[in-house]
Symmetry: C2
Subunit: 441 residues, 2 copies
């Protein structure tokens, strides 16, 4: 007893009690259903990989955040820090067998030993979907549709998907004489919503070869306002002569037009030239998704098109497009927007154990109700009814079933609405119907 | 190009391609639904914990199999090797807030650096459920019911849950003068189905203080045949005078009687005195579950009652009962029994992209069908129809939708049954109904 071990989690890690885990499972189920409805197939890869697979050409930054160690066989191993690199390795290994196009989703935890400031966790879930093996704009359009239908399925109707195209940005930088500085300029531009205009301009001018005037032109373009058509027209007018930009403009026009035909309301899909995405490997359409009621938390679903997924592991060129839902960020947003019900049980119906002698009958009724699709918990101890009902209310059950000797003698059950504190007596055969009725009221 | 990284997984780890991941997700969904229907609430704990939490008093054996290392902050950390110990830590930390009884389930990967012989993997999923904070036999009965209903939900009807009670085993050993040797004797008895009678007897007699005669008596009892009633009667007759055994016999009688009342067919719940469970911490009812068509793979769902879950971390006594489904073992069994469909897509309906100009319309129809609950994939490239249908057949789609200029002009779609190679033309408004009809045929 003297040497109890203190029960605690590591810094940056958290437990999910039922109140958080019930909504998280519901979100995952909804996301999974949308991915599947579009024909994305699930895959899973190990949490641990050879370190060289995960670090690839990665520099000091990724090394710093990776959990990396020697296993029992002295192998240099590491825990995955995203789902993209394991997917690239997976694709390189099996694409011959899988065939293209290949559409996959993957959902699972990833680990990053990052600074834990700003509510960042060192373990968090990602939900990725990608279509590889095609350069078709149809896949770029579908990415918009998946994000759109997923946000709706998750219960949000006030959101906006912002799109841009790296070809447009690169063409535009080419015209401004900034081709050589494209990568750092876009990396800085990506910070615009976070660090605001002045700091962005400042950082941009600190890049060798970027003048204040050039930074102003980039920011002026990035801040273009107007409808999607107006933005496209301005782009066409000012940069249509550049081959790259023209290609990007065509794809963005196709994308926004087809999205409307497919049923996406115009206010939910917005061309935004300031969207840059920091990651170097994007080469075409790029996506970010914002909640209108909580824009400050940043993009909850982001992604883009890339020319080659798995170049580190195979000579086969694998172009593709995809996005990743930040599940835990979305969950935090829902907590902040008070969209999470305070319920600690996944079941609706509570069965009081009035007498231990009738345990088999309580469970038989419960099993009948479960077979009818209801969630039913039977209290394990034959305590007094009062404390059992208190437990049920605290957990968030909605209805209770009670039967003692009188009810069993008459073949009846008492059905109690826990919120309204109303009670009725129902014949055994009609309990399921009565409960359903109360639950849909 | 010269320095490609070889794409490969670590020894003992595996990827899940769609053909395996689709059924695994289905199993997980079914298991989750059964747990929830009984009122078990989901929780999740981190993959990484302080090493001292996971190793506890554990000796050399657990140390050998644990992935343990120093993190960036020089903390001694380890990856979880089961879901029970993290749950014990979780319970110790929050039980005051959660209240008892507390029913939780947890599903997720665990890691063990074990020998990879006999198809064992170093990363595998567990699905645990437990009721803590009660000694009531009602929770022991419910454990049987959950296993029973879960196996049915997973598509098995030929299975048997075998139960025993450690109190009976301990009482029996007490009567045979083997109290001091109880732990090693039960650990050896647990191997009976694997190493057979002679080797078990041999190993038992190697335990200091166990004679050949005693080993024979233990084995004779363990091999008792007969109906549950017959076994209970024999136990009562021979060991009913022992207080521990009598207590265990009463609980087993209650359990088997109430299970029948609750609707479990007698042939699916069998008293088996040879079931011992190797783990020292079980103190009451113990459970194993076998597939009648594949008994050789061993128990697919096992568990038991324990007196105290979290003694390492708290002074509060937390008795409980629970079991764990070996998901990957069950999946392997289903593979062997050829119960897994060879399908690489979660969607049933394939939409041919006949012309890129109609992309928005293809996706609009697809979204209508998705809203009606169907899974629909639109091919990303406007290739010839033949290769698109070949792709669809290879992936395992059941139906295809085709529309070209003629169909669009007339407001029709061609619906094709890919297995039967039959085709019909259907007005746009009736496509959903036609597809549903074909899918339920």
């Amino acid at each position: 007893m003297a040497d109890l071990i203190e029960p605690r989690t590591l810094k940056g890690f958290r437990d999910y009690p039922p109140e958080l885990m019930i909504p998280r499972e519901q979100l995952l189920e909804k996301v999974r259903r949308v991915y599947r409805s579009y024909g994305f197939a699930p895959i899973d890869t190990p949490a641990l990989e050879y370190a060289e697979i995960l670090t690839g050409k990665g520099g000091a930054e990724s090394d710093r955040l990776i959990y990396r160690f020697k296993d029992h066989g002295e192998r240099d191993v590491a825990m995955r820090f995203d789902l993209t690199i394991p997917f690239a390795r997976f694709a390189a290994q099996y694409i011959g067998k899988l065939g293209t196009p290949f559409k996959r989703y993957a959902m699972g935890p990833v680990w990053r030993g990052e600074n834990t400031a700003h509510g960042r966790y060192r373990e968090f879930w990602q939900c990725d979907f990608d279509t590889i093996g095609t350069t078709s704009n149809a896949a770029d359009l579908e990415t918009v549709l998946v994000i759109h239908d997923m946000m709706l399925a998750l219960g949000f109707d006030r959101f906006q998907i912002r799109v841009n195209n790296r070809l447009v940005l690169n063409g535009l930088l080419e015209e401004m004489g900034l081709s050589a500085q494209a990568v750092p300029v876009l990396r800085v531009l990506d910070k615009l919503p976070k660090i605001k205009r002045d700091a962005t301009r400042q950082e941009m001018t600190e890049i060798p070869g970027v003048s204040g005037e050039q930074a102003d032109r980039v920011l002026l373009m990035a801040e273009t306002e107007g409808s999607n058509e107006e933005v496209l027209e301005r782009l066409q007018r000012e940069f249509g002569g550049n081959a790259k930009a023209a290609d990007g403009i065509t794809r963005l026009r196709e994308l926004t037009t087809a999205a409307v035909v497919a049923g996406v309301p115009t206010e939910r899909l917005k061309l935004d030239l300031s969207i840059a995405r920091g990651l170097d490997y994007y080469t075409g359409t790029i996506y970010e998704t914002f909640l209108c009621d909580l824009p400050g938390i940043g993009s909850v679903c982001s992604g883009g098109r890339y020319d080659n997924l798995a170049g580190l592991y195979t000579k086969q060129q694998l172009p593709g497009v995809g996005a990743s839902l930040g599940l835990d960020r979305l969950l935090a947003a829902m907590e902040e927007l008070k969209l999470l019900p305070k319920v600690a049980t996944p079941a609706e119906v509570f069965v009081v154990q009035f007498s231990a002698a009738h345990l088999g009958e309580y469970q038989r009724m419960a099993r009948t109700l479960r077979a009818a699709g209801l969630g039913v918990e039977v209290y394990p101890d034959a305590k007094k009814v009062g404390p059992q009902l208190q437990y049920a209310e605290k957990r968030g059950f909605r209805l209770a079933l009670i039967a003692g000797p009188d009810e069993f003698a008459q073949g009846n059950w008492k059905v109690k609405d826990l919120a309204k504190r109303e009670e009725q007596t129902v014949p055994a055969a009609e309990v399921a119907t009565a409960l359903r009725k109360l639950l849909t009221l």
